[in-house]
């Protein structure tokens, strides 16, 4: 497995691995390529990461670096990739029962009430109605939506809908929670408050979580470790261990240590984001000429 460099503030990944428990999720040497009209595009290039039980890992990178491709590969929604993804030693081929996914786009079912949305995976699992509704109400309460059980998604705000999606995924009791920029469509204040909610739930359930994001603040606020990705093709540029005290809340964003982490990660990301912007401009110029 390829080893990524770590920055001065972090513990070496190799050193930490010796003391860390066995990883529950191992992403080993993933390569994902797509055929495009301009030729073969390598979205993810020999990427390896692992996540230990109860850990919160964030993967951060500029737009177009292959984050969502990685999310889809780990979630089993894409095939035709090189390398392996294993969960608890079991190789993933297709969606895995131990992985629960929360998507970037609004994904509640508009024809179901909040409680019926949350009960969806339990209904699929064949659990009796009374029991599944009781369990669903527990998860609705966990995400702080008590009193909204009989409402439809159209009657809720964007942040509340995203919490419904989160409760629905948590109701399936996955060993690993996989989130793809779940707060991307929300305003900054809602994003911070939802971050608090995610932290609270993650700590309460000791939920192993992998968050894909392009938001540095969000990543530092939530994660134990942050994987910084390069711009196209997406590779591991650096792994940063976040040594901020837990339990955390959104108040941590005003601390000095938090600011240092954000600055260091931004210095890594800035170069990659600039490359991305340059590529985008070149592409647009080419498009205008043709």
């Amino acid at each position: 497995m390829a080893t990524a460099p770590t920055i001065a503030m972090s513990v070496s990944d190799d050193a930490s691995r010796k003391t860390r428990p066995e990883p529950i999720l191992v992403v080993d040497d993933i390569v994902m390529q797509f055929e495009t009209p301009d030729g073969v595009l390598t979205a993810v290039d020999h990427m390896s990461i692992d996540v230990t039980p109860g850990e919160f890992l964030a993967v951060i990178g500029p737009s177009g670096c292959g984050k969502s491709t990685l999310f889809n590969v780990i979630g089993g929604l894409l095939d035709g990739y090189g390398g392996t993804v294993t969960v608890g030693g079991e190789r993933v081929s297709g969606p895995h029962r131990s992985i629960g996914m929360i998507f970037q786009e609004e994904s509640t079912f508009p024809w179901r009430t909040v409680v019926d949305n949350v009960a969806f995976p339990l209904e699929i699992a064949g659990i009796a109605k009374a029991e599944r509704l009781e369990r669903a109400r527990h998860f609705v309460s966990l995400v702080g939506l008590d009193g909204f059980e009989r409402r439809y998604p159209a009657e809720l705000s964007g942040g509340m809908r995203q919490r419904v999606s989160m409760a629905r995924t948590l109701a399936s009791e996955p060993k690993i929670l996989l989130m793809d920029e779940p707060f991307a469509a929300l305003d900054e204040q809602t994003r911070l408050l939802l971050g608090d909610k995610v932290l609270q739930i993650q700590q309460q359930l000791e939920q192993t979580t992998l968050l894909i994001t392009h938001n540095i603040t969000e990543a530092v606020q939530l994660a134990d470790r942050i994987v910084v990705m390069t711009y196209r093709p997406g590779k591991v540029k650096r792994i940063v261990k976040i040594d901020l005290p837990r339990p955390r809340s959104s108040e941590i964003v005003s601390s000095e240590a938090f600011g240092r982490y954000v600055a260091q990660i931004w210095s890594d990301l800035r170069e990659e984001a600039s490359r991305g912007m340059h590529d985008d401009e070149t592409l647009r110029k080419g498009g205008e000429r043709s």
């Binding site: 979630g75 089993g76 929604l77 996914m101 998507f103 786009e105 024809w111």
Partner: protein
């Protein structure tokens, strides 16, 4: 009560709709009485209202209404069952869709009512000629809207289903169908409009029975007020079907 609160209630929009209709009839009545509209072409709304009693008592309206309603109901059920099934097939097999979708769209705009002599030869001068004419006319919008409904289902909803490891049947029943339902119902309503127009039209043309034949009879007798009163019963059939489809949609998908 504020204007916004009144608009949200059920009574105010209903009363406003009814009031608008009444105002329209009053305006037509006034314009006819002032000779701005020719009274030998358009009867006065008050004459139409008086004609209802005559049409109901003398023209066997209940049996005619029931026949047209029955024909429309059978044809409506057929377009829903066959149209949605064909739409699902077209969505599932893209080759079939690419091969046939243009033809179905072309059929939607074809004046199929002109094919009634052919249907008379096949089905005879019976209720089934009328039903089949209504069926053929109402089928294309149901097929096209069913395809559109399924194809327009947001990918993320399907990915949610995949992430919960739904079987293809579960994916269809639990996600695809409910997601496509509003669009499918638009198709069913459009189909019902075409079906009813054709049913009444063919009843009119082949003089078989139902409200279409009554309209023909009354028009030939130059009973304009009676003709318009009979047309109101056709509108009533249409209203019945729209209320029915709305209820079914609300039952299948309680919120939108």
């Amino acid at each position: 009560m504020t204007a916004a609160a009144m608009a949200r209630g059920r009574f105010v929009p209903f009363a406003l709709g009814l009031g608008t209709l009444a105002a329209f009839f009053v305006a037509v009545e006034v314009l006819i009485r002032l000779n701005a509209i020719n009274r030998y072409i358009v009867p006065m709304p008050s004459q139409i209202a008086l004609a209802f009693e005559r049409v109901i008592l003398e023209e066997d309206i209940v049996a005619r209404f029931w026949l047209t309603f029955k024909e429309a109901m059978i044809a409506g059920l057929m377009i829903a069952l066959v149209g949605i099934s064909i739409g699902v097939l077209f969505y599932r097999f893209s080759l079939l869709r690419r091969a046939c979708e243009t033809w179905v769209a072309a059929m939607a705009s074809a004046p199929t009512v002109l094919m009634y002599p052919l249907f008379l030869v096949i089905f005879g001068r019976s209720m089934w000629t009328i039903i089949m004419m209504g069926f053929v006319a109402g089928l294309p919008p149901v097929i096209l809207k069913t395809i559109e409904g399924f194809a327009g289902t947001r990918r993320v909803l399907l990915n949610v289903g995949r992430s919960f490891r739904l079987t293809p049947v579960q994916q269809f029943v639990k996600i695809l169908f409910p997601a496509a339902l509003p669009t499918i119902f638009v198709g069913v309503r459009l189909g019902l409009i075409f079906t009813l127009i054709n049913i009444v039209g063919v009843e009119f043309l082949i003089n078989f029975g139902g409200l279409g034949q009554l309209i023909n009879d009354l028009a030939e007798r130059y009973d304009l007020a009676g003709t318009y009163a009979a047309i109101c019963f056709v509108i009533l059939v249409s209203v019945c079907f729209f209320v029915f489809t709305e209820r079914v949609e609300k039952w299948l998908r309680p919120v939108d």
